[in-house]
Symmetry: D2
Subunit: 275 residues, 4 copies
Amino acid sequence: MCRWLAYSGSPIRLEELLVKRDRSLIDQSLHSRLGATTTNGDGFGVGWYDDAGAPRLYRSTHPAWNDRNLRELAAGVSSPLFFAHIRASTGTAIQETNTHPFRHGPWLWMHNGLIREFARMRRELLLAVDDSLFTSIEGTTDSEAMFFLALTFGLEDDPVSAVEKMVGLVEETGRNHGVADPLQMTIATTDGRTVWAFRYSSEGASRSLYFSTRLDALKAVHPELEQLAGLSDETRVVVSEPLGDLAGAWNEVPESHVGIVQPGEDELRPFAPRR
Amino acid sequence: MCRWLAYSGSPIRLEELLVKRDRSLIDQSLHSRLGATTTNGDGFGVGWYDDAGAPRLYRSTHPAWNDRNLRELAAGVSSPLFFAHIRASTGTAIQETNTHPFRHGPWLWMHNGLIREFARMRRELLLAVDDSLFTSIEGTTDSEAMFFLALTFGLEDDPVSAVEKMVGLVEETGRNHGVADPLQMTIATTDGRTVWAFRYSSEGASRSLYFSTRLDALKAVHPELEQLAGLSDETRVVVSEPLGDLAGAWNEVPESHVGIVQPGEDELRPFAPRR
Amino acid sequence: MCRWLAYSGSPIRLEELLVKRDRSLIDQSLHSRLGATTTNGDGFGVGWYDDAGAPRLYRSTHPAWNDRNLRELAAGVSSPLFFAHIRASTGTAIQETNTHPFRHGPWLWMHNGLIREFARMRRELLLAVDDSLFTSIEGTTDSEAMFFLALTFGLEDDPVSAVEKMVGLVEETGRNHGVADPLQMTIATTDGRTVWAFRYSSEGASRSLYFSTRLDALKAVHPELEQLAGLSDETRVVVSEPLGDLAGAWNEVPESHVGIVQPGEDELRPFAPRR
Amino acid sequence: MCRWLAYSGSPIRLEELLVKRDRSLIDQSLHSRLGATTTNGDGFGVGWYDDAGAPRLYRSTHPAWNDRNLRELAAGVSSPLFFAHIRASTGTAIQETNTHPFRHGPWLWMHNGLIREFARMRRELLLAVDDSLFTSIEGTTDSEAMFFLALTFGLEDDPVSAVEKMVGLVEETGRNHGVADPLQMTIATTDGRTVWAFRYSSEGASRSLYFSTRLDALKAVHPELEQLAGLSDETRVVVSEPLGDLAGAWNEVPESHVGIVQPGEDELRPFAPRR
């Protein structure tokens, strides 16, 4: 399917996580270890918040591993909060409007997984999108439809509840169409301050999702790692699969949970669909 | 907006009309004389029927004038019926799924013009598309929506009636939304045997559309033109603007009319929206 | 590195070998079994001879597996002789002018392998290209340089000798620069009638190369295979790795040999560099 | 041919000059007033110095006017020194390695114009490039060849002298090949601190080139313009054609001159080829 990464913390150059690391996201585009597909070469996207706090996108239909502009951008741009996503299409067209992250106002959204038999449910799900939001849908993916459904259900006010309702609708619609296990997802969304990361699937066997250990704990265990020195204790990374093999650095998000990365103490809560 | 060309007749290499002619379609992509915009550089598409009668597409987001693959294809492929379209976007994304011609089964469809304030009407118009067809919509243009509405209204059985009903729906929906003069269009569609070319606009001032003089008449006037010799008398070209300046070669399609290019006598009929 | 395929025989649709087969070339772009790299996603190219015997190219920087235009073309075009190549860059830029096949007059050329430390030898090798040919070099690959060196050494008159001289020059230049084992190659070239397929490497451990069994022999062993019925006995395929697993269908080209597919009896000869 | 823009001064978002202005560079890509061609749709490039002073590139083969990533980047990135270039190819391939600016170490280079009959002189000019630099040539344009010749002649030590020698070589080589008026150029180059802008042609009728009036003078004449308030007095823009119509804002670089934008007083000096 796909691989993604969400970063929140001390401003760093994007290349630190996208390029310069063993098992970086760009490495994963060619050789994913944990993905449903090993190659994620159907385009990629990066979303970052600039120095005025506005979300910016760079999305391309080329494979991440051979895109020079991506390397330039990742080397030249620093940000305290960014998303990156590499795509393996499950059938929808390879075009920029189908690459993640998706954006609406200050919000970003990205997804790994799929709505099974989406073609059969697409019209019904799109009909549930609020009229004022509908015209902003530019692509044809299940992932973007899920974003606009979540926006319809109040993402901007109560993200966890909105995603629960979106998932509830997909489960119900799937049931009505006789689709077994309609939903498989890990999702990240942010308003530019807080990051919400969801792990859920109808069958209770969701795609992998990891969050990094708090940096103060990690620095205590690995005082030798200089690259950690400049990063604030609250710096956090959420990823489809670990970057590198540092012992103690990565923790699995439990099945059917949402992690919330925010100023102050982060949270990990159970997550369940809702109607 | 856009420029397009429809050819039906003796099999010829596509390059004869796309490349090798003064004021060829590729010339028009850079310097249109009659278009609403002079540059049509937002992608292009070619649809042709192959030797088994199946419709094939080559669509790209690059400008037609600098695409080498287009020149190779146009030189290497012959066909008795082909469509070509160069795009100037009216705002929707530059992506292959938004380039013409659009295809459904054996049918091709292309459009020059626009639905005014389409963003406001998009959801309502898409809702009118038949459920079984909806999932085949891959892009976000007004042009593709018009195609799937025409299919919903029976394009495959009675093309003129189906397009009249599609136009009627757009006019009515525009009226309900308070849009003055909602529709501007020249459209070509074909099932691989017959070509229908429509010229219509709400305001009665439609984009230009021309059809070529019957070849027997043209040969009589220009016996010196060797390149006409090999072409059957029924060979016909319909274009947004004339290719070349040959006297007597081009005739304007009248306002609110549909031209039908078919085996035997071609037809020209008045066209009006219908509910 | 790369994977390639050369077909010569009864005219068939390109998709028969590029798409429709288990372990087709498009399958190999995502999952090569025998390649130095498993993913060949850095662009692709197809060269075919059209009904007038002229070579046509379709080359793209997108991965073959997700390019819709490639599938359309492969379905719509038939040819008695075509080349196809999927690329895994060894460092040079991803651009159409670096994708194979390369063309000069009626000749096509494609390569799997590399000149080791080509950057150090590039200027010296390019200097050996004939002045009249130099300006036709459009890309920056070792593969294209090898083509223009072979042309300089008489490819159009005596292909085997010209390639032997080209290889001799590369070996000598490598030696002068202290490069161990400078050359690794399988190469196919054609003038539109005959196909020459070379397997060679400095170290005597060349990339894999296979040719198909003569069809009369194959039909005798597999009378049940209907898809073979329409193909002439002289039909032949040369490939980097076998398409499918049919017993008896594929034979390895021996190390340091050239195979010649031509009207009448095909040939297999030893091959050695020459100065 | 092309249009370009060089900015040096108070850090601003790139979009201020590329997008947000009447007759911005993106406007000029579709409708140039002074260019040899009105449409500059064969790709574009942006080079900027990031907050660590390193040059970064974003180059694309799509037209600037419809590239969303360019708008995102231009909105999200600020820089005290940047180059932007929109291309109209004079025949060489449309590929990223042929788009400007070109980069070598901390240097950027861009060009409007052409070497006439470059194909005939290409080999000889490339042979004059220093061996250590040759392998960095990635494209096939006259513009890039001129850059590497200037580097060969000492661009990094004495830019004016190096460009004079490069021009001298091109003039001489043209003469030897019987090419009348071999060179037409406006060129900008920078090391990240100083910008050199050259205007020269063999025939003494060079492409247009303008530099902006010093901001203290401009502020004195137009005290009402708030957008000037935040910019330092030394801020300077050099362009192929003026952005906007502000009286007193733009001054033509005289024929056969080089302008030097640098800390302290800027300079304008005569320029002549040298051997």
